[in-house]
């Protein structure tokens, strides 16, 4: 049902969710579309890693340790070209700078009732674009003290799926017809765009449209900082225009 349903969380009451049920929901959501999409995109990454001369253990370790596809791709490409460590650190770091706003706009929702703040450093590592998008759409209707269970179940499930995808792609390298192999790379950004677009919040919709337009325009001029710039400029534009529209309507 999750796979075909219009949204990952359909008609289920949330108020009295037990920890076990929250974990169940997290795993069930992960086994829907994220499973399909991650098998595609991580398979593509596994193949890329092999073509870039990485061994399977390093490819798998990069999925666990970096846990961010754009950064992993940069790592493989720079490793293949024999790049300097300093250049690699800078490039990977810039490719993944988005985690600053991502973590800052999710952790406050997970922090509630937390006794040991140290866990937040683990949560920050487990976060990815998909888990961010899923949590943000699920959490508003989720009991605050069950969010962490959902988050851990979802993120650990998609991490496991991604490891399987990485290994599968590594083994299958070159076995897929080229139009299929190339299409695998398109699945993830397409899915993420749809997932993000499935929002009913006007400020968010405005920010999304602005971001989708500004991102590719800025990238050729600032391949490193471009995405962070896009987020701040397009996100602020969406936020401010939404406020204007709200005050304009009420006046």
């Amino acid at each position: 049902m999750t796979l075909l349903g219009p949204s990952p969380m359909s008609a289920v009451p949330y108020e009295n969710l037990s920890t076990f049920e929250a974990v169940q929901r997290g795993i069930r959501d992960a086994i829907g579309m994220p499973l399909l999409v991650l098998l595609c995109s991580m398979t593509a990454f596994g193949s890329l890693a092999r073509e870039g001369g990485l061994t399977l253990d390093v490819a798998l370790a990069s999925t666990i340790g970096v846990w961010a596809l754009p950064g992993q791709i940069v790592f493989v490409e720079l490793h293949a070209t024999g790049s300097e460590v300093a250049a690699l650190v800078l490039a990977v770091s810039l490719a993944n700078a988005r985690f600053l706003p991502m973590v800052m706009s999710l952790l406050p929702l997970l922090r509630i009732d937390l006794k040991r703040v140290g866990w937040l450093y683990l949560y920050a590592h487990l976060l990815s674009a998909q888990s961010w998008a899923y949590c943000r759409r699920v959490f508003p209707r989720f009991p605050a003290d069950r969010r962490r269970s959902y988050f851990l179940a979802f993120t650990l499930s998609i991490l496991t799926i991604s490891l399987a995808g990485t290994a599968l792609g590594y083994i299958l390298t070159g076995a897929l017809p080229r139009p299929l192999a190339v299409a695998l790379v398109l699945v993830n950004p397409l899915f993420m765009l749809l997932l993000l677009a499935d929002s009913r919040n006007r400020a968010v919709i405005l920010a999304l449209i602005a971001g989708a337009v500004v991102g590719p325009l800025v990238h050729p001029y600032a391949p490193g900082w471009g995405m962070l710039f896009t987020g701040v400029v397009a996100g602020s534009a969406g936020f401010i225009v939404n406020r204007w529209l709200t005050t304009w309507r009420s006046s």
Binding site: W67, P177, A183, M227, G231
Partner: protein, 120 residues
């Protein structure tokens, strides 16, 4: 196919050190965000703005990956990618926001378009 591409084989230890550097470079942002987020109230305007920034950033990143991709995808014509994503978005909204329908339609369209040019 894999063997002829993998020319530069750095020694294994170097590779692990490079990976460690990449892990650190990524975790830097995640770790930095933990103390920075500790005073943000999820009900506040700041949090609302941060949410808009993240949505815009992710949309920008995904649209960049489609319009200006790295690797093999860059060998396909831009209009094919745009048409495929357009079909995916249309199918998604026509199908009452069904994610599988949107992703399936967009991806199938893209495979067909690429297939007609490259063959299998």
């Amino acid at each position: 196919m894999a063997d002829d591409v993998a020319v530069v084989m750095t020694p294994a230890l170097d590779t692990w050190m490079l990976l460690l550097a990449a892990v650190g470079a990524t975790y830097f942002w995640r770790g930095l965000a933990v103390p920075l987020s500790s005073r943000i109230d999820p009900e506040s305007r700041v949090f609302e703005w941060m949410t808009c920034v993240t949505y815009a950033l992710l949309a920008g990143l995904m649209s960049r990956m489609i319009v200006l991709p790295f690797g093999d995808l860059a060998a396909t014509p831009l209009h094919d990618r745009i048409i495929a994503v357009g079909i995916g978005l249309a199918a998604f909204f026509v199908g009452r926001r069904n994610l599988l329908l949107g992703v399936g339609a967009g991806t199938s369209a893209f495979i067909l378009l690429t297939f007609t040019q490259w063959g299998f």
